[in-house]
């Protein structure tokens, strides 16, 4: 007898539909799985057998062949446990074969027949082509976010099989979580002083400009960076789904509480591996930190401590907004459109120019970790100094994130009018059109180019930063010398750090 059921497996951050076919025929009793299963998938054999027996069903004393189609796709993980068990019960005529029509299932089985949570449920659910879907109860609320049909959740295999056989009631339907809980994000009103850094942060949020902060320990770099997502507008629906899928596939928890609406904030430790940052791995190509930061902020703290090859590997995703992870047998493209915020100390001892105890060569070695091309990709480069102690005892309230976010949204609306998400995405020809330079501004830029302060890329980037500044200030269509000068100051070459002390 033959039975089949729909399911899916994950590659990168997306699910791929898989159909599980089980054939039970006369012959010597035997049990094989074909269709490119990997080790954890092949182990389904033993889990399914025990689970069926523990749930009170019989194991057919016949020849059992299981095929996972399409056979060209590598299947990984225990997701296919439940579909195999259900198809096998149908093929051995313990539940009606018709019950599996237009049914999808995912779930890992325990030896006692219990259903266990699988990572990336939203990605899997969105790939399954079926009228209804059965998922494990734990984390079940993720599934309706990606699935259009009816989602039912169950605790055990017996519950599902009983329901399908008509012996008991079908497991309960899971509803969509409408109002996702938003995590409380830290507020800018906690930041005392730091006028320059606050403003740079606002420009960064409004225009999507990457920012580098250099400063001694304790000057507030991390504190500032953590408050950046709070200034960004909510994610668009399309991005909400993408981001939720990525986070689910990466096994981060937040998704079961509804779609992710707020821009994520990722801050990987400098011990992270290349694969951990970019994505990939031996198995299902897990999304890396840069993909997890898609739509939000990737904060690389202590840039100087990272191996330079990891930092340099960020160059392509920074340009293209996606990461293509290629391995011998397959390649996966994952979104990686993030706002890059870097921070580092001015030198290994951290004190900077005044009472630095580092030798010249030590300082050079430290600053050399950051290559020129990466440095050039930071539109905003500022130094963060510890605030004047007076501001801590000042009663003057600091501006809150909400107030800044309002200006940011206005600037982003202006950018949307130009057909882009934010000004950093403006192309050269769009800049000509939307950010024309006055003669004064041209002179300032010409001078900066002649002095070697900015590169060809820098020339373009400064113009888009100037556009953002003009948007924030509500200035007119053309960019005057004052605005372009302000943009140039925000792109400080950070001489004391990167050009050696002279």
């Amino acid at each position: 007898m033959l039975a089949s059921i729909n399911t899916a497996v994950i590659q990168g951050y997306e699910g791929h539909p898989v159909s599980v076919e089980v054939h039970v025929s006369n012959g010597l009793p035997g049990y094989t799985i074909v269709g490119l299963p990997d080790t954890s998938c092949r182990e389904a054999r033993d889990r399914v057998r025990s689970a069926i027996l523990s749930s009170g069903y019989k194991w057919p004393q016949k020849r059992v062949t299981i095929n996972l189609a399409p056979s060209s796709l590598r299947k990984e993980g225990a997701v296919v446990d439940l579909p195999i068990a259900l198809a096998l019960l149908a093929a051995s005529e313990q539940i009606p074969v018709e019950a599996l029509n237009s049914l999808g299932a995912v779930g890992e089985l325990g030896l006692d027949g219990s259903l266990k949570k699988v990572p990336g449920l939203i990605c899997l659910a969105s790939a399954i082509n079926a009228g209804s879907l059965i998922v494990p109860s734990e984390g079940a609320s993720e599934a309706p976010l990606g699935f259009t049909g009816q989602v039912r959740s169950a605790e055990t295999l017996a519950e599902v099989a009983g329901g399908l056989a008509g012996l008991s009631e079908m497991p309960g339907v899971v509803d969509v979580v409408k109002n996702s809980k938003c995590l409380q994000q830290p507020d800018m009103s906690d930041v005392a002083g730091q006028g320059l850094a606050r403003w740079a942060l606002e420009v960064s949020a409004a225009g999507g400009h990457h920012m580098l902060m250099v400063g001694p320990p304790g000057s507030g770099k991390t504190m500032l960076a953590k408050r950046l997502p709070g200034l960004l507008p909510d994610l668009k629906l399309k991005d909400q789904i993408t981001v939720s899928k990525i986070h689910s596939a990466a096994g981060l928890k937040e998704v079961s509480e509804g779609l992710i609406k707020r821009p994520p904030f990722r801050s990987p430790h400098h011990g992270a591996s290349m694969v951990g940052i970019l994505g990939g791995g031996t198995g299902a190509m897990r999304p890396g930190e840069i993909s997890c930061a898609h739509g939000g902020v990737l904060f690389i703290d202590e840039l100087g401590e990272y191996p330079s090859r990891i930092i340099d590997a960020l160059r392509t995703p920074l340009e293209e907004g996606v990461i293509r992870v290629s391995r011998a047998t397959r390649s996966v493209t994952m979104p990686a459109g993030f706002l890059f915020i870097g921070s580092m100390n001015p030198c290994p001892c951290g004190k900077g120019s005044t009472d630095c105890r580092c030798s010249l060569s030590q300082r050079k070695r430290y600053s050399r970790r950051l290559s020129g091309p990466i440095l050039d990709r930071f539109d905003l480069r500022i130094e963060v100094q510890p605030p004047n102690p007076v501001v801590f005892f000042d009663d003057k309230p600091n501006e809150s994130s909400d107030a800044i976010a309002k200006r940011v949204i206005n600037a982003r609306l202006l950018a949307a009018g130009r057909g882009v998400n934010c000004n950093s995405e403006l192309s050269g020809s769009q800049l000509e059109c939307y950010a024309p330079l006055t003669d004064g501004a041209k002179n300032v830029l010409k001078h900066a180019l002649e002095k070697g302060e900015i590169s060809g890329r820098g020339f373009k980037r400064v113009r888009s930063v100037a556009r953002t500044i003009a948007d924030l200030l509500g200035a007119g269509d053309s960019i005057d010398s004052q605005t372009i000068s302000a943009a140039l100051s925000l792109r400080s070459p950070l001489k004391s750090v990167f050009e050696g002390e002279q």
Binding site: G193, Q385, P387, V444, T483, S485, S492, K495, S496
Partner: protein
């Protein structure tokens, strides 16, 4: 370029030949061309050679001398646009010196040697930012009055003094330790190039000579010899600057030292110099007046800023007293962030201030 000069170049490029051995070689035979010939033909009397010159070394000299081709030497000098100076030249600046070099390699504007007014501005490589500023301002103010600013083109104080002079397109002479085709330190490449264009770089070492340790004390004596007076901006308890000071004292040239905090290690040497009798260098105008009878330098400061708008003038005046953090400056001036940022770019493009992403200070 005559044979005598080329012979001098050839002799100076022999193995382990420094200023002392070169002058010993020439003491055997005053005419360099003849001395070279003698060496080549093995007629050099090494029985009375100074300590350290072995028979082996003389043989080595003889062999390398045989390989030297004057045409190749000449081409190489021309390629690097390096000129040779020796005691027979009119411009030779060491005519009355107690320990003159035998040959000088020069790159740049030789007419600077015609200028009788010159002052050495030197100091440690490990200097404070304040020290660098002082060096820059002294260099600038001296150069504005057309006084040669002589220094050693090293990191720190030396480089800042040269930069100060160059900032007003004034005369500056750099005396370096290694050969003129060996840029050292590498990070001073830009400065090296601009001095070789609008100033003068001198060296006693032949082309290709690496900046070995022993060459620097000899270099310091040349700085002393070339300067009318010496200003030590910052010096640690011990260091090369103090060698230059000794060389100056030997030549009866006045030594000035910039006083610093007693807590700053970079001012320990200079403060000690003052307590030992050096004159404190308090103001560039006072020094100019005392040494060269040049007064009325008050115009220096005013010239620089008179044609700026009032806000920029205020910023510049504030920066002259101390370096300012951006937020403090914005607060005190009551300016909006973007306006102050644009003023900063404006002033730094004019070369008045430097901006490192958070603090504003006077350019150096």
């Amino acid at each position: 370029m005559n044979t005598n000069k080329l012979a001098l170049v050839a002799l100076s490029s022999l193995k382990s030949v420094g200023p002392k051995r070169l002058s010993w070689l020439l003491s055997q035979e005053a005419n360099p061309a003849l001395a070279f010939k003698k060496l080549r033909s093995g007629k050099l009397d090494y029985l009375h050679s100074p300590r350290g010159v072995s028979a082996d070394l003389v043989r080595n000299w003889q062999q390398s001398a045989k390989k030297i081709d004057f045409d190749v030497l000449k081409n190489r000098l021309e390629l690097e646009s390096v000129k040779i100076l020796c005691s027979s030249d009119d411009l030779w600046p060491f005519k009355n010196d107690v320990e003159p070099p035998s040959v000088m390699f020069a790159k740049g504007d030789l007419s600077l040697l015609d200028n009788v007014n010159s002052i050495g501005v030197i100091g440690t490589r490990r200097c404070s930012s304040l020290g660098k500023r002082v060096a820059f301002e002294f260099g600038r103010d001296f150069a504005l009055e057309n006084v040669n600013v002589v220094s050693g083109l090293a990191h720190g104080i030396d480089g800042a003094a040269h930069k100060g002079a160059l900032s007003v397109y004034g005369p500056t002479i750099a005396v370096v330790g290694g050969g003129l085709d060996y840029i050292y330190p590498k990070s001073n490449t830009k400065l090296w190039e601009s001095i070789s264009k609008s100033g003068l770089i001198l060296s006693e070492s032949p082309l290709g000579a690496p900046p070995e340790k022993w060459r620097f004390p000899a270099r310091n004596r040349l700085i002393a010899a070339l300067s009318k007076a010496l200003v030590v901006v910052e010096s640690h308890k011990s260091g090369g600057s103090l060698i230059t000071v000794d060389e100056c004292l030997e030549r009866d040239k006045p030594v000035f030292a910039v006083p610093g905090s007693i807590l700053s290690p970079a001012s320990e040497g200079t403060n000690r110099l003052i307590s030992d009798g050096a004159v404190p260098a308090l103001k560039s105008s006072e020094l100019l007046d005392e040494l060269f009878q040049i007064s009325d330098t008050a115009k220096i400061q005013n010239n620089v800023i008179s044609n700026l708008d009032p806000v920029s003038q205020t910023i510049l005046k504030m920066c002259h007293t101390s370096q300012y953090h951006f937020d403090v400056l914005a607060d005190e001036l009551g300016l909006a962030t973007h306006i102050l940022l644009s003023k900063i770019t404006e002033l730094s493009h004019l070369g008045h201030i430097s901006w490192d992403g958070s603090t504003v200070s006077v350019a150096n």
